[in-house]
């Protein structure tokens, strides 16, 4: 509950933030709804905490030709409340409104969610299924990576020291249908297995969370049997923990993949 000593910086521009983040043992503080908790245990104790909350340019949702440009510091609540999201890709709001609770949603951000990449997080599989593109700023300028390259491991992403995720681009929905299914601790609690799916032209693109270090992407023809078969063929080797064994997670992945595809709208 008690953090190690730290230095705190509050840049007001992406450039300043990137400069600060280049320092040894600096960490970006987004919503802080995961990082601060980890710091309370002192399992992580960054020497410099770079608070991104005063960089206005990192917040906001813009619709561009049906696609959405979401600033990394956009909160879950802003996504839930956004007219742009409701019009362009409502699944984002539907999933965001099941993240933790309203207090967390008022602080937690999409950027923090994907960058922390905890296996139980909601946005990594959703970003992977929807084919999100993520823009990362560094001292050499910006680069954009696809969701599948973005997630590298547990707590590891393509954002390297000295870099900063600035925005998440969600492609236009077009004729696609999006779905989500999960089994959690209690109702809408911590994920045991999360599945996001998007279906277009009869093909489902499915991303399964909490069965590996990064979301596992599977594609299949969009009927329940084909989906379950495809997930089985992926030969998942999920971690087991106090909430679910590997075997049960593997089973849930099949069931939930079929449900996510079946319920896609």
């Amino acid at each position: 509950m008690l953090l190690s000593e730290l230095e705190y910086a509050r840049p007001e521009s992406v450039e300043d933030a990137v400069k600060l983040l280049s320092r040894e043992d600096a960490r970006a503080l987004a919503g802080g709804q995961s990082l601060v908790n980890v710091m309370k245990t002192r399992v992580a104790s960054p020497e410099l905490v770079v608070d991104l909350n005063r960089i206005d340019g990192l917040r906001g949702i813009r619709a561009v030709d049906g696609a959405l440009e979401i600033g990394a510091m956009t909160t879950y609540s802003a996504i839930v409340e956004s007219a742009e999201v409701a019009a362009a890709r409502p699944i984002l709001a539907e999933v965001a409104r099941t993240i933790a609770d309203v207090q967390v949603r008022n602080r937690g951000t999409i950027g923090g969610n994907v960058c922390s990449n905890d296996p139980t997080n909601h946005f990594p599989p959703l970003a992977a299924a929807l084919g999100a593109e993520l823009t990362i700023a560094g001292s050499d300028g910006e680069r954009t990576v696809g969701a599948e390259e973005f997630f590298e491991g547990v707590y590891l992403t393509a954002v390297k020291p000295g870099e900063l995720l600035t925005s998440v681009r969600i492609p236009a929905k077009g004729g696609a249908r999006d779905g989500w299914a999960s089994v959690t601790l209690g109702k809408e609690g911590t994920g045991i297995v999360n599945v996001a799916a998007t279906v277009s032209n009869g093909t489902a693109r499915i991303a399964i969370g909490c069965v590996a270090a990064t979301p596992v992407v599977v594609t299949a023809s969009a009927d329940e049997t084909a989906v379950a078969d495809a997930v089985r063929a992926a030969e998942l080797d999920p971690p087991g923990d106090v909430h679910a064994s590997a075997e049960y997670r593997r089973h849930l992945a099949e069931v939930l993949a079929a449900r996510a595809v079946g319920s896609a709208t």
């Binding site: 980890v38 002192r42 399992v43 992580a44 590891l156 971690p239």
Partner: protein, 179 residues
């Protein structure tokens, strides 16, 4: 938690054995090594910072070679202590020569105590797999270097700043059990 797997090396067993049993080479296998000190040929210590996205986990490790049967078997104990975590690991290597190549079967029994130990095994297990893969990749690079054609490729795997991406590497851990 027990993890195990096999890995093939394009090098003779003696060479793999030498890398595995040279503490100074061993040092380069560890993720995020910040300092390394050899006490004697059976004991050495290292300060490491295991890369985690939230910030590195700093641990001071004591290594002890428990058993060896050149050039086929070695057993190593390592105990790491840091704020919030105590890691105890017993690693065994079995080498089987196959002409100019070597097959290595390995097992590690990893035990984590302290606050991090209860922080969620679903996270812990992939992290262990991730680190093991890094170690194996680094080992492969070390073996290649010892063989003569050495490149700096191995360094990537031990750089805390840019750890090797974890993927379901067929040569990474093949089996892990929750125990």
């Amino acid at each position: 938690m027990k993890v195990e797997g096999t890995r093939e090396f394009d090098a003779p067993a003696q060479l793999v054995w030498d890398v595995l049993n040279d503490p100074s080479k061993m040092a380069k296998l560890l993720p995020g090594v910040e300092s390394f000190e050899i006490q004697d040929d059976r004991h050495w210590t290292a300060a490491v910072k295991i890369p985690l996205g939230m910030g590195g986990l700093k641990l001071n490790f004591n290594f002890e070679k428990l058993e060896e049967r050149p050039i086929e078997y070695a057993k190593l104990s390592s105990k790491g202590q840091g704020v919030g975590a105590i890691v105890a690991m017993e690693t065994q290597f079995h080498l089987t020569p196959d002409g100019d190549r070597t097959s290595m079967r390995w097992e590690a029994d990893v035990r984590v105590a302290g606050p991090i130990g209860s922080m969620g095994q679903r996270v812990f297990q992939p992290i262990v797999n991730q680190q093991v893969t890094n170690v194996l990749n680094a080992l492969e690079a070390q073996v290649a270097e010892a063989k003569g054609g050495g490149t700096g490729g191995a360094e990537e795997g031990i750089d805390a700043g840019s750890p090797e991406a974890y993927s379901s590497d067929p040569e990474g851990p093949t089996h892990s059990t929750e125990t």
